[in-house]
Symmetry: D2
Subunit: 144 residues, 4 copies
Amino acid sequence: MTPEALARACADAMWADDPASKSLGMALEHVAPGAARLSMEVRADMVNGHGMCHGGFIFTLADSSFAFACNTYNERVVAQHCAVTFLRPARLGMRLTAVAAERTRAGRSGIYDVTVTAPDGSVIAEFRGHSRGLGQPFFQDLPA
Amino acid sequence: MTPEALARACADAMWADDPASKSLGMALEHVAPGAARLSMEVRADMVNGHGMCHGGFIFTLADSSFAFACNTYNERVVAQHCAVTFLRPARLGMRLTAVAAERTRAGRSGIYDVTVTAPDGSVIAEFRGHSRGLGQPFFQDLPA
Amino acid sequence: MTPEALARACADAMWADDPASKSLGMALEHVAPGAARLSMEVRADMVNGHGMCHGGFIFTLADSSFAFACNTYNERVVAQHCAVTFLRPARLGMRLTAVAAERTRAGRSGIYDVTVTAPDGSVIAEFRGHSRGLGQPFFQDLPA
Amino acid sequence: MTPEALARACADAMWADDPASKSLGMALEHVAPGAARLSMEVRADMVNGHGMCHGGFIFTLADSSFAFACNTYNERVVAQHCAVTFLRPARLGMRLTAVAAERTRAGRSGIYDVTVTAPDGSVIAEFRGHSRGLGQPFFQDLPA
């Protein structure tokens, strides 16, 4: 099995078990070892009266991308610490895209950077997530 | 008007304009100058197949508490940067409580700490939010 | 041995092995379980041409306070992740004080908050440190 | 004047006014718009009794690289908030290299990522700095 196929298999297992991301309307667009891209439209139940998206939903999109990116090596990995910087408002109806990339891994710890952009490419938020491996495989019969 | 009454008036204006927090089932339990407490039950659409809450919803509860706490001085304030540490899992059906307290303010910048706890008092997450004032009042006829 | 005496013994062992903090002129003023206070004067080799202290030295003072606070339970603990917010400049000749307090512990992980103040009490920086225990005691014959 | 020459001129002005970085033995190896590379040898006065570098000096090297990278546009910029993750120990005698790269800019705010590496390329620390422009030029007669 190639690393790409293993990443995809892990993501499929994650996605099947993630009603939360689905209920927010997220789409899993791409996954590869240490990388993921998800998108989500800003819905009416995510904005305030001025049509601006609650930062929590922007975080949640980034956090899901982070989770898919770090869970691509046949080891279950959880989020320990995440930081987000809000740079521009996201508005009702915008489709946001969150691209997660691995920055580094050392032992059981990993750092992943996620950029959330608007359709015009402007950056809505920058996110950095710290992961920790649990030492448990997704698939017992595949190598970690 | 007392600082407490002003904080309450600001919170009422915020709450009236926050369908996002309401749609997640949050309750605004307390507000005072620089402080707020909100609670939220972990619903079926917030968890994975093992009944564990998506970190994004825990963040969102903390972020809402932070927003209510920093918007208590008749100046509109936005979140710039937030960090969260996930300490224990939150499970389906748990009612989470997020207590926000002001740590410091300097010029237009503020720092607020939020602790999210389970009903038994165990800490689910620690959050620190950085705010920035916009120089715009909630109420034109009241002092900032 | 009381928790206070154990904290002091750990701090003495740390201090004896910390030429870096000493070379910066830090003084260990107080230590207790989960808490520490250190101070340091801003020296000529810590400032720029306008007499403002390099942020790195402010961080280092906070980081030392954090290290002393988290190493008070007869377990060797290291810093994993630290964040600092610079609120006001520190100037040549100022004696800075860094007070570290434990926010929470969960398993091997801990969170400590450090406030760095000027002599007039104004806040220079706020720091949050995340620690991780190594499972190694300072003193083999004492309980962890 | 090219952007590269302007970045170099700003860095020269910064360096002339930075005795703190010099006193730690830092070398400014490279600067370009939004980017910088500095190096520093771990000295005896930076380590503990086991030869491990105090995290504060690793942070300080990263912070200096961040400062040089964000001050390359003829506007004076200061650090607001910085986070560092310590991944591996740095040892006595190691020459550490800190490479700073601009992640994004929005209005007066910027985000810069710095990676600190050992001579063998292994990552010692990852740093993310948030900057804020002061609206003051380095050179009155040059464009910002």
